[in-house]
């Protein structure tokens, strides 16, 4: 597959070295309800996710970052707000 630039989430995915399938499985485990195809569209900014969907993908990426020594470098949608005010 040719390399497409993708958005911030897609770049993070490449940084942590997860395939789309692996990331989807993690996203799904963390409660994601989008299909693998839809998740990929979100990564490439082709589909606008809800704040929650965005955060579940970010959680999957950040947990992978944590496994390899990072500390939640990918921002959540509510970073400026308190978690409890989300919706």
């Amino acid at each position: 597959m040719p390399e497409r630039s993708g958005g911030m989430l897609e770049r993070a995915r490449r940084d942590v070295g997860l395939s789309h399938g692996e990331l989807w499985l993690r996203y799904f485990a963390l409660g994601g309800m989008r299909s693998a195809f839809e998740m990929e569209a979100i990564l490439y900014d082709a589909l606008e996710p809800s704040a929650h969907d965005h955060d579940v993908i970010v959680q999957a990426l950040n947990e992978r970052f944590a496994e390899i020594g990072g500390d939640h470098p990918v921002p959540y949608s509510d970073n400026e707000r308190d978690g409890a005010t989300d919706q």
């Binding site: 499985l25 485990a29 963390l30 693998a36 989300d86």
Partner: protein, 372 residues
């Protein structure tokens, strides 16, 4: 009890459509399995699961589908899946189940195609109308996800056979994929055509070896009487001897290594032995790939357990702190991050802490579960 079961059954000739409704939980999943078994026992060989009413499937049901697909495949039938949600489709793909079932692209029909029945134990008719459009029963076998690697290995096997067997004019490997035999590696066009002729006529040593799991050999095509439709085509292409050795995956025949020769009586006992060894080698490759697929199923089950425990913890936080589902999720992950813990691990602690308290105590525990 069966009235609450939520499975609509309609019959259309050999085909049985099960429309699954509502949640199949721990109690009803085995019952669904029993219903599918009963339907197969009655001689139906094409079972279609209509999943239009489901947006989710658990590992139990996935396992049940895999078991049904395997059983039908052994008995020359097939399991079809109709109207899976996009999420469900991803689950089927990631577990390799999509290779095990036929995707039935007809839209779900709320009008039953045949006489609809409730799923009591009796009442499945042994005789049914023959409808106009019943798809032919065909074999379906799970083929490993990493096809490019498998195909590469099989091409090597073909090249080795060609080099080892002195009078081999051409060599190929046929595998059953999505219910039909396909040539995945061949030394040349003539060989690929020979294979294709056998798939088309539904006969010949390659087809027989793939179906029956035994070696088939034609010593002299001119004298061949077993396959009257195929033999003349072979002769027309100048092929006089054929040796087809079966390939296996998880002890089931799924294809054949085919060696074609332009010489009558081409194959020596040593050639037959070499072909068997190479076929066994190919079967090992296929079995390894099958194991990899199994590994994926284990990971999916793990993912499903993670989902479940997070949902439970969400429920705890929702009830305790009066939050919406999304808010409780956000709270859980914020606290997990603060705790330098994974969401699953944190959720497990929340659930474990809660189950140690009586419900009234849990309601007063406050503080959000980090006090585990």
């Amino acid at each position: 009890m069966l009235d609450d079961f939520g499975v609509g059954v309609s019959f259309a000739g050999d085909e049985v459509v099960l429309r699954i409704q509502g949640e199949v939980d721990l109690v009803t999943a085995p019952e669904l399995g029993a219903v599918i078994d009963a339907i197969i026992d009655r001689g139906h060989r094409v079972v279609v699961l209509d999943l239009a009413d489901l947006d989710f499937i658990d590992s139990q049901r996935l396992a049940l589908m895999a078991r049904a697909a395997h059983r039908l495949e052994r008995e020359c039938g097939e399991l079809g899946v109709r109207s899976p949600s996009p999420l469900l489709l991803s689950l089927l793909e990631i577990t390799g189940m999509d290779a095990l079932v036929r995707m039935d692209h007809r839209a779900s029909n709320s009008e039953p195609q045949g006489p609809e029945q409730s799923v009591g134990t009796p009442g499945i008719p042994g005789q049914t109308r023959r409808p106009e459009s019943v798809p032919p029963a065909s074999l379906l076998v799970a083929i490993p996800a990493r096809r490019d690697l498998i195909d590469g290995a099989l091409r090597v096997v073909v090249a080795l056979a060609q080099a080892t067997i002195e009078r081999a004019g051409g060599t190929s490997v046929s595998l059953r994929r999505h219910g039909r035999l396909t040539t995945v590696a061949a030394t040349d066009e003539t060989v690929a055509t020979m294979d294709e002729d056998q798939y088309t006529t539904g006969e010949g040593p390659c087809v027989a070896a793939s179906a029956e799991g035994c070696r088939f050999e034609i010593d002299a095509v001119a004298d061949e009487t077993r396959w009257p439709a195929f033999a003349p085509r072979a002769r027309a292409l100048g092929i006089h001897a054929i040796l087809s050795t079966p390939l296996f995956a998880q002890d089931r025949p799924i294809g054949a290594l085919n060696i074609y020769s332009r010489t009558v009586g081409a194959f020596s006992p040593q050639d037959v032995k070499s072909a068997s060894m190479l076929a066994a080698e190919s079967s090992t490759v296929l079995a390894d790939a099958g194991a990899e697929e199994k590994e994926l199923t284990v990971r999916l089950e793990d993912a499903l357990r993670t989902r479940e425990v997070i949902a439970q913890a969400q429920g705890v936080v929702m009830a305790r702190d009066g939050l919406t589902a999304v808010m409780s999720y956000t709270r859980l992950r914020t606290m997990a991050q603060r705790d330098k813990s994974s969401l699953r691990h944190f959720a497990e602690e929340v659930v474990a802490t809660t189950s140690h308290h009586r419900p009234s105590e849990a309601a007063h525990s406050g503080g959000g579960g980090a006090d585990a």
